[in-house]
Structures are given as structure tokens and as C-alpha cells.
């Protein structure tokens, strides 16, 4: 359960950004890869708690799931996996360990209060 410390990092970073730009934050947008090792539900739960008493109190965390994209050496193309239990090209079946996307844990935007 490291989601609470990750939620606190998100809040720290967003708060710093908000203070620097002198804005109030309605929501923080986050890209979360399937291989980031973070459970979305636990993160959302932790975010609500960790926001209390900060500039982000009452704000929402909007999570966009990022699927796992690998490079298929046989098709010579990026491919999106359909299961994280099967690191093989969904089209030709070739095994691949080269992960292009899916490890993201990235703040992408902040929604501001009008």
C-alpha cells in the first residue's frame, strides 16, 4: 500500500504548481499505466484523504488508464496488449519484453477553478 505516499506526492507537486501560478485547482489529471504498480481505487481513496488541509482540499483526481504497449519484433510495430498476463503480440503471437507504454505515473493537466 504505497498509494498514500504517491497521492501525497501528486498533491505536493500540484500544490507547488498552483502556488507558483496563483491559481485554484478543481481537478488533477493523471495518466496511470497498467504496469505502474499503482492500484487506481486505492490511489483515489488516498487522494481524498491526503487533500484535506491542503490547497487542493475538495479537488478531484481524474485518472486516465494507459494500456500496455509493446514493440513486436516480428511485426516491427507497436502493439497494445490485451492482457498483462501475456506479453506476446496480439496479432502474430511473438514474445516481446520491450515495453513502450504502460509504466506512466504522470500528472498531465490541472483543471482550474473559474
Amino acid at each position: 500500500m504505497h498509494e498514500l505516499s504517491i497521492a501525497m506526492s501528486i498533491i505536493d507537486m500540484a500544490q507547488e504548481e498552483a502556488e507558483r501560478r496563483n491559481v485554484r485547482v478543481e481537478a488533477v489529471h493523471l495518466e496511470l499505466g497498467a504496469l505502474a504498480g499503482v492500484v487506481k481505487e486505492a490511489l483515489l481513496f488516498s487522494y481524498g484523504i491526503a487533500c484535506d488541509g491542503t490547497l487542493l482540499e475538495g479537488s478531484r483526481l481524474v485518472v486516465k488508464d494507459v494500456p500496455i504497449e509493446v514493440f513486436c519484433p516480428s511485426c516491427n510495430l507497436p502493439k497494445t496488449l490485451t492482457s498483462m498476463q501475456w506479453f506476446h503480440c496480439p496479432d502474430c503471437g511473438a514474445a516481446t519484453s520491450e515495453v513502450l507504454h504502460g509504466k506512466e505515473l504522470l500528472i498531465t493537466a490541472m483543471e482550474l477553478k473559474q
Binding site: M1, H2, S5, I6, S9, I10, M13, E17, R21, V23, E26, A27, H29, L30, L35, A36, G37, V38, M84, Q85, W86, F87, H88, A95, T96, S97, V99, L105, L106, I107, T108, A109, M110, E111, L112, Q114
Partner: protein
């Protein structure tokens, strides 16, 4: 009136602080020709037992040290100290994983440049350690035969983040009807091409292949390398 939300684009990696520090550690280890191997597994898979054996068997050939993470006790460091190599415990308190900053702090007072090999034993946990780069060259994920063959499928993230897998306690395989082929297939499903070693740290079975792999990796990383004091990084 404009009802569209005002969006401010930012791109910030939440784990940037850890990643930056891990990269700095990796650069420092490389510059000092120290190979770093980390171990991750669930609690009780046998990390400390295997590490104790590894330290004892390699300490005559290499200059080694170990860092060991634990939530609450210093028991593991005391066990590992029996091997005679320098060992430091990182007590994480309530934190369920090691982070690069903890490794950096633990190395304080040690002359890392004097080491060929540094082992880092993570806290027993197959979930949280996956997110944190520690600056290691090689991450070993361990699985004991008593845990069930489907562990890799249940924890694909950590298995995918590792460089090699070790199946431990194979002296108990028959007693628990361990299905070796299924376990190997499951590892290859989530991390195709990953080397796997079956062994028992207790009986010594399979240890040779695993040690050979470690020393080969060490040489691959440090080929043509001698330390600044001229100490060759070679097996004699």
C-alpha cells in the same frame, strides 16, 4: 459564459524525485565499477537465506556488501553478518518498499568504490517495490515452490520489472506437488526470455548455475575493468 473547464497542461512524473536519484546512484555505481543486484519477493520466499548463502560463497572471490530492508527488525542483518561481509539494515518503519533515497542514506560512511558487488534485499512485498528504481543493475525476483505456480500471473508488474527469476526451496518441490513446467510457462508469459534458476539455498542444489549467472553478469558489466587501485574484477 464559458462553461468549459480551464485546463492547465503540465507534464510531471510523480516518481521523478526517486527516478532522478536512482539514475544518479546508477551512474555513481558504474563510475566506481560496483555492480548492484537487488532481490524482491513476497515475505518468506527465502531472500535472506539465499543471500546469506550467496555472500558466503562469493566473499572469497569478490569484495561484497549488502543492504537489507525490513519493516521492523534487524534480524536479517544479524543473519547476513554471519557471512563475514559488511551488512547494513534499512528499517523502513511502515514503508512497504525501499526507495533510492533510503539506499543512498544507507551507503553513507561506506566506500562504495572499494566494492565489486553490492546486494540490496528489498522488503518482502511483490507489489510496491515494482514502482521504485533503486539504481540497481540487475533485479532478481524470487518465488518459492510453496507459493504456487501462478504467482507470476498474479504479480505480473514485479515479474516484468525484473531481469532474472529464482525459484527457491526446490528441496520441498515434491512435498508440495510443485508443477515446475507451469511455473516456468507463467514466468515466460509475463516476461518472455527471462532467465530462471531453480535452487535450494538449504541443500545447495542449483546454486552453481545461479552463481555462474551472477558472476557472468558481473563480468559483462565490468568487462575490461580494473578498479582505480588496480584490483581486477575477475574470478580466480
Amino acid at each position: 459564459m464559458n462553461t468549459e473547464p480551464r485546463l492547465l497542461e503540465v507534464r510531471k512524473n510523480v516518481l521523478k524525485q526517486n527516478d532522478v536519484l536512482a539514475r544518479a546512484l546508477r551512474d555513481r555505481f558504474r563510475a566506481q565499477h560496483t555492480s548492484v543486484i537487488s532481490l524482491v519477493s513476497s515475505p518468506g520466499a527465502g531472500k535472506t537465506m539465499l543471500l546469506e548463502r550467496t555472500l558466503t560463497l562469493l566473499s572469497g572471490r569478490y569484495r561484497i556488501a549488502a543492504l537489507v530492508g525490513d519493516l521492523a527488525t534487524e534480524n536479517d542483518a544479524q543473519r547476513l553478518a554471519r557471512s563475514g561481509v559488511p551488512v547494513k539494515q534499512i528499517v523502513t518503519g511502515t514503508v512497504c518498499h525501499l526507495e533510492a533515497a533510503m539506499v543512498e542514506r544507507a551507503l553513507d560512511g561506506w566506500d562504495v568504490g572499494q566494492l565489486d558487488l553490492l546486494f540490496v534485499e528489498n522488503v518482502g512485498n511483490l507489489v510496491c517495490p515494482a514502482s521504485y528504481d533503486l539504481g540497481e543493475d540487475l533485479r532478481l525476483v524470487m518465488l518459492s515452490v510453496t507459493e504456487g505456480e501462478d504467482k507470476p500471473l498474479k504479480y505480473p508488474t514485479i515479474f516484468n520489472s525484473a531481469d532474472a527469476a529464482v525459484i527457491t526451496k526446490c528441496d520441498l518441490a515434491a512435498a508440495v506437488d510443485f508443477d515446475e513446467m507451469a511455473a516456468l510457462a507463467n514466468i515466460q508469459a509475463v516476461r518472455p526470455g527471462m532467465p530462471v534458476f531453480l535452487l535450494s539455498a538449504k541443500s545447495g542444489e542449483g546454486i552453481d548455475n545461479y552463481l555462474e549467472f551472477l558472476t557472468r553478469e558481473l563480468h559483462r558489466k565490468c568487462s575490461d575493468v580494473v578498479n582505480e587501485n588496480g584490483w581486477p574484477v575477475e574470478v580466480h
